[in-house]
Amino acid sequence: MKQDATNIPQSLSNPSSLSRAARGQLARISQGRFLGNRKTRVALVILVPILLLTAFAPILPLQGPLETNLRAMMQPPSLEHPFGTDRMGRDILARTLSGVQISLLVGLSVAAIALVAGILLGTLAGFFGGIVDRTVMSIVDIFLAFPSLLLAIGLVAVMGTGVIPVIFAIALADVPRFIRLQRSLVLSLRSRAFIDAARTVSAPQGWLMRRHIVPNTVAPMLVAASIAAANAILVEASLSFLGLGIMPPTPSLGNIIRDGQTYLEQAWWISTLPGLVILAIAISFHFLSDGVREALDPRSRQ
């Protein structure tokens, strides 16, 4: 980062200090600390090829994910069909890549929604306490009383199937956890001496939250968000597997596996290979969260 004497007052008077804090965090991620981490590198070695393949799927010499080919049904993996074909002769790799696209969309959207809603509501509850805290936390407690998968199933049943309802269903189950986490972080920060120091000059409450509280919660919340993303990908797959998430013929990792499970003995590749892809993605996200944690941990900071 460039450092010169004049940029301090400017950056201070910048009203978007929250985004500035976030940028600071991202800057630290981009510095060697994050990329130098072994777990991060393992995660990237897995994720980057998957992402590239997904992005370039349309121009790969593959058959479209919805295209059927009745002359090549239930083909084992080959050069032409690296992941084989299913009972309608659709290319499993093409379908898997298309499913990965949906998985990542779901995972990242859920993480983003949970992060924003969690930081907002958790900060308000933790900072103001009293009636605000009690109201928010009672609702949170009610949501936390449901198993998250069951909650998601119920919500999808109400809202209908498709990508957007699935995202909201999963996010709604995650948001209460994020509120809890943020609230506990805020509570431990609220009594710190630097908050007192700002209060002695009667800094307004909005200032305290924006400048002192939220920037210090971003790191642990980002870690939680990357775990939530992995979890959302698995939940989406579970919902689709149960026939509740993404509806066929739109491919999703969950419904591909569901299709293949009947033929597991004759055509193992239909379920197994997409299953391995889910596994790889989930593990990478968990590794990424470790990398984020180690990069942002103030104790390891120089």
Partner: protein, 660 residues
């Protein structure tokens, strides 16, 4: 090195011990060739600042170093046996049985989920080969010896049921109950109050004398050393720079570091308003220790030779050795620019303008109970305090932890709302907090931290603010480049300077400093105290200085208020309060403070304060201090004394104030 004059082999003989910590950012050479010996029954103090390697050295002896610490070379002989060559299993039988340990933090060194009996009896059974019943009797005996009331019942208590002082007593009882030949105590009283510290030190002193246990006592408190030790080893940058009998070290120190360290302590006798000596600079980074003498950068007597060769320990007297090329250390070189002692501006009479006025202030905290009926328990943290501070005056507030002194500070700053009473402040009050690492937002740069009050109060425009920033940072003795750093990149002393700069930003009329120096090392402490005194004189700010360090308060304060359980028990001019304390509590506090002078310490009759602070949940009806007071009579237990004027300038709340 042949300084071993005794004929009998020493109990513990450490030779050329080296310890390293391998970190991501390089190898920290914490201990660099330390050699010394402890004889039977001898009490040796290891003194040094944080980072001098004193704890690492002690932990190396028993191989208790935490990863990534590692002993790289050297020999440790306990009664002729080389501990370094023992296996982990063999060493385990030495730990506890032959060498006992007491650590700094009494809160975390006992297992919180185990009763004391479970933690104490099995080691006794193992090391003394006793049956369970006998070991139990032994444990009770030791708890009694360390002064724990009702030891039979206490043996079955959990650690959380005991106060910090009690737990430290338990630790000592545990360590001594296995009859070790040597006791290693690593800052055993640092986390405790002065009165409790005095009790603990006395317990350790009598019990080690009784059992003939030798002792290695690690501390940074030179006063404690004078009270306690037979011999002293002064450590700097991983080496022993001076070793000798306690009187020689204090009366005729030979190493410049020892000499400077001793002169940084505010003395009781020295003229007030004489500036404290301060050691310039900071200890070297032990990742890349400098060539030659490690202290030379901060030493006024350094010569060319110091940069090339590190001096070895050489004899300076009987059993007294020091590592310095100069035969007499600093001698005569003291008066160079940075170490000279220009007089403070003298005792300027405080201007007749009251900056702070507190009238009958009370603060009660109550926590409603969930399951039981009846009134919620009320903690009476501040109980009717009346104080005044004039312009340019420093008021010192002293007292044990829990006496309400920090609550008074928070009330003054408006961080808490008083339950009743009034506070008037002429102008603005600002605060310097105790812990320089917690009082800054770690995600903000120093510049942003100091500028924050200005922005919040919309002070000036951008250019005016940045000019003010530069003025403030130089005013507290830092450089403009520091504005760009993050708090974690500064040392403790530098951070405390930043805290002062932040407090000064809005031109306050009062600065409240809550233990501003207690988290700092001795050599840095003097720098901060000098800075505060300079600012007070320069800017005419009124100071409220809250501390448990009585020597510092005496040095810096014009008037002193002694607090006990939320009340002011004595109030008056600093010198008078210290020289002729009127209240028995003040007297006990002053007696508990160890003085950095072994001769006075030996002569002092230490009448220790018994017991601990009663709970502020249910205050006694009469005098709050009656339960610990040596002169309490019936009237003290039934009737509450009020602040009276036994002398013209002073106030004290005691029924017997005239009889002392």
């Amino acid at each position: 090195m042949t300084y071993q004059t005794e004929i009998a082999p020493p109990l513990l003989d450490v030779r050329d011990l080296c310890t390293e910590f391998g970190t991501d950012h390089g190898t920290v050479k914490a201990v660099n060739g330390v050699s010394f010996a402890i004889n039977e029954g001898e009490r040796v103090a290891i003194v040094g600042e944080s980072g001098s390697g004193k704890s690492a050295m002690a932990m190396s002896i028993l191989r208790l170093l935490a990863y990534p610490g590692r002993v790289t070379s050297g020999k440790v002989r306990l009664e002729g046996r080389d501990l370094c060559s023992l296996s982990e299993r063999q060493l385990n039988s030495v730990r506890g049985r032959e060498v006992g340990t007491v650590f700094q933090d009494p809160m975390s060194s006992l297992d919180p989920v185990m009763r004391i009996s479970k933690q104490m009896i099995p080691p006794i059974m193992r090391s003394l080969r006793l049956s369970r019943e006998k070991a139990r009797a032994e444990a009770i005996l030791w708890l009694d010896k360390v002064g724990i009331p009702d030891p039979e019942r206490r043996l079955e208590a959990f650690p959380f049921e005991m106060s910090g002082g009690m737990r430290q007593r338990v630790m000592i009882a545990m360590a001594l109950s296995c009859r070790p030949r040597l006791l290693i105590a690593d800052e055993p009283t640092t986390a405790l109050d002065v009165t409790i510290q005095a009790q603990i030190v006395e317990v350790m002193k009598t019990l080690t004398a009784e059992t003939g246990t030798a002792m290695m006592f690690i501390t940074h408190d030179l006063g404690l050393v004078a009270r306690f030790a037979d011999k002293v080893a002064v450590m700097y940058a991983g080496r022993i720079v001076e070793f000798g009998p306690v009187r020689d070290i204090f009366c005729a120190p030979a190493h410049p570091y020892t000499q400077s360290l001793l002169s940084t302590i505010p003395s009781t006798k020295a003229l007030r308003h004489e500036r404290l000596a301060q050691i310039p600079g900071m200890p070297p980074d032990m990742k890349s220790p400098p060539q030659g003498c490690a202290f030379r950068a901060r030493c006024a007597a350094a010569v060319a030779r110091c940069a090339q060769d590190a001096p070895e320990l050489s004899p300076r007297g009987s059993g007294h050795i020091a590592a310095c090329w100069q035969p007499k250390g600093l001698e005569g070189c003291k008066r160079t620019a940075c170490e000279s002692r220009p007089q403070h501006g003298g005792n300027r009479p405080p201007r007749e303008r009251t900056m702070v006025e507190i009238n009958r202030l009370t603060k009660h905290f109550s926590s409603p109970r969930l399951f039981s009926r009846g009134p919620a328990p009320v903690v009476r943290a501040v109980n009717g305090v009346t104080l005044r501070v004039q312009q340019g005056e420093t008021l010192g507030i002293v007292g044990e932890s829990g006496c309400g002194k920090s609550t008074v500070a928070r009330l003054l700053l408006g961080l808490e709302q008083p339950t009743s009473g009034e506070i008037f402040i002429d102008g603005l009050a600002q605060m310097v907090f105790q812990d320089p690492s917690a009082s800054f937002n770690p995600k903000m740069r120093i510049g942003a931290i100091i500028e924050e009050p200005l922005i919040v109060k919309s002070w000036g425009d951008k250019a005016a603010r940045s000019a003010r920033l530069r003025q403030l940072i130089t005013q507290v003795g830092l450089e403009e480049a520091h504005l760009e750093r993050y708090p974690s990149q500064l040392s403790g002393g530098q951070r405390q300077r930043v805290a002062v700069a932040r407090a000064l930003a809005l031109d306050p009329s009062v600065i409240v400093a809550d233990e501003p120096t207690s988290a700092l090392d001795v050599s840095v402490r003097a720098q901060i105290i000098n800075l505060l005194v300079d600012l007070k004189e320069e800017l005419g700010i009124a100071f409220v200085f809250i501390s448990h360090d009585l020597l510092t308060v005496r040095y810096i304060a014009d008037r002193i208020a002694v607090m006990y359980l939320g009340e002011v028990v004595e109030y008056g001019p600093a010198d008078q309060v210290f020289d002729q304390p009127a209240h028995p509590y003040t007297k006990a506090l002053i007696e508990a403070v160890p003085l950095p002078d072994p001769v006075t310490e030996a002569r002092r009759a230490t009448r220790l304060l018994e017991g601990e602070l009663p709970s502020p949940l249910n205050l006694p009806k009469g005098c709050a201090f009656a339960s610990r007071c040596p002169i309490a009579t019936d009237i003290c237990r039934t009737e509450k004394p009020v602040l009276r004027h036994p002398m013209k300038t002073r106030e004290a709340a005691c029924h017997h104030v005239n009889s002392i």
